[in-house]
Symmetry: C2
Subunit: 309 residues, 2 copies
């Protein structure tokens, strides 16, 4: 079961020769979730060998061009590739209006667009047996949402040798998989931990872009494995960050520290910085486990059993 | 004085890892003319070291996504780069409606868009002292126009040694530069060719995309230095070409032959052909001086004096 993030675009509003505008792809379980869709996203998918038809969910943070200008091209391509199954789109209310414009100029798409509106109440916008996605309101110049992806608790795996040893029946197994202890016919209580393998860690990824620094976000992304936080500006341009409701690299790192995340990714770098390593270094002074992302980077979180529990 | 074409995108509707959707840039004199603007055009400009702010004219062939989906991103970038001067846009009537949508969702641009509507009467859509551009109606599934760029006739250069030899005055010079012979005080007629350097060849570029094969186009692009003609399909998919109102490579070459152009460029290759060399070869069987274009190609036509005239 993969839980793998691919960076498709890492620039801020102005793309550069090497950085396309923002787009991330999370491959979680068997599903591909596209997060934002800057201009050229479909080209990056091709370049990185990802079939766009495998995407069934597109989550949009906000309606600024550098996060959505790739949508028309991607939808058009999906149509030409013969897509018939619906595509789910998540985002602020304006997203539906923006996309309604597609058919007006470029004709009907051969598949349905299903909209899920992200709202202020931090709802789950997606939930299945393996994964939940929560929308997190951000503070930007237009309604904006981050997204928190978290694996669901899975049923426990029962140790095969114990099934025989304790004579577990089908009904017992269902209970033990859920985490219950086993009571034998003689009345002995066998603790669940003795019967099962340690549970899998529930992997998580939080995407917070675009936003001004907001310490209240820390509680919402507490302890995630991977946090992407925008870091448009350097500390010396802190004023500009505040004016435009963006964050500095140090602010992104402060959020990561407050939230106690395992790893911080920063991106959405302003094209004014010729060497974004500067921003990575500023962040690292606050939160060491920080990486400045580049287009094409892949961050994979292995499926691991918790130990000592 | 440069007359140089840069291929920014050479794919048909579906981009590939190496081919972006259609966009060409003609640098003629001191001006940059962008011809079509597929998704990622602004990224290609960055990659090829061309400052997008230098573009003052954008010519759009037709309102299919693979020719216009880069417009929103480019306009947005020009605005963020501080553009104040107007941008001229040429194309079918629907172009204005399409772009009016930009401000509705992404706010006003800090510069004006001036529209020149291409129409069926093959007008000059642009004309200055150096260059004229003519719109050429094409046959496609939606109103579509090709564009013919041709340098204007320049004033002749008078041979310096002859000015003194024949005692040419300022008024005489004006006439001689226009091509007139000189009549000396003694009544002797000095032929213009004896007084002036041979004139410069008027360089020309014609862009015909997207279109079905239309032999009547040959008269309109007769003898151009460089003809770009779309070649979406191979001969074996001729039926598909007819159905979709596109051309095969051999049809593009037939047009080039009929028109007696100097060099043919083909592109807008369907992504179904893994090796577009196939299309180039099919075209070469009909018209030898054919090149299948790739993103990043530059075709420069030198400024040369006509000889033997």
């Amino acid at each position: 079961m993969s839980f793998e993030l691919t960076i498709l675009g890492s620039s801020a509003a102005l793309p550069t020769a090497k950085r396309f505008p923002t787009a991330h792809l999370l491959h979680a379980g068997e599903r591909f979730f596209l997060i934002d869709c800057g201009e050229g996203t479909q080209i990056r998918l091709r370049q990185y060998g990802i079939n766009p038809s495998r995407i069934h969910h597109i989550l949009i943070s906000h309606l600024h061009g550098d996060h959505v200008f790739g949508l028309f091209g991607l939808l058009s391509t999906l149509g030409m590739m013969g897509r018939k199954v619906p595509l789910k789109l998540y985002g602020p209310k304006a997203l539906e209006g923006f996309l309604s414009y597609y058919s007006k100029f470029f004709g009907p798409l051969p598949f349905e667009l299903e909209f899920v509106i992200s709202s202020e109440n931090e709802d789950f916008v997606f939930e299945n047996d393996n994964l939940s996605i929560r929308a997190i309101p951000l503070k930007h110049r237009t309604p904006a949402y981050g997204y928190l992806f978290r694996e669901k608790k899975k049923l426990l795996n029962v140790r095969k040798e114990q099934i025989e040893a304790f004579g577990l029946g089908l009904e017992d197994l269902v209970k033990v998989k859920r985490g219950e202890d086993f009571v034998s016919k003689s009345g002995a209580i066998i603790p669940n931990s003795q019967l099962t393998l340690p549970p899998f860690h529930q992997r998580s990824y939080a995407y917070l872009s675009d936003t001004q620094f907001d310490p209240s976000l820390a509680a919402k992304v507490k302890g995630v494995d991977l946090l992407f936080h925008e870091a448009t500006f350097s500390e010396k341009d802190k004023k500009l960050a505040a004016q435009t409701q963006h964050s500095t690299a140090a602010e992104a790192a402060t959020l990561a520290k407050l939230a106690g995340v395992k790893k911080l990714l920063i991106g959405h770098f302003s094209s004014r910085y010729k060497e974004p390593l500067l921003l990575e270094n500023e962040a690292k002074e606050v939160f060491d486990n920080t990486t400045g992302v580049n287009d094409g980077d892949i961050y994979s979180i292995p499926l691991e059993r918790l130990s000592g529990e």
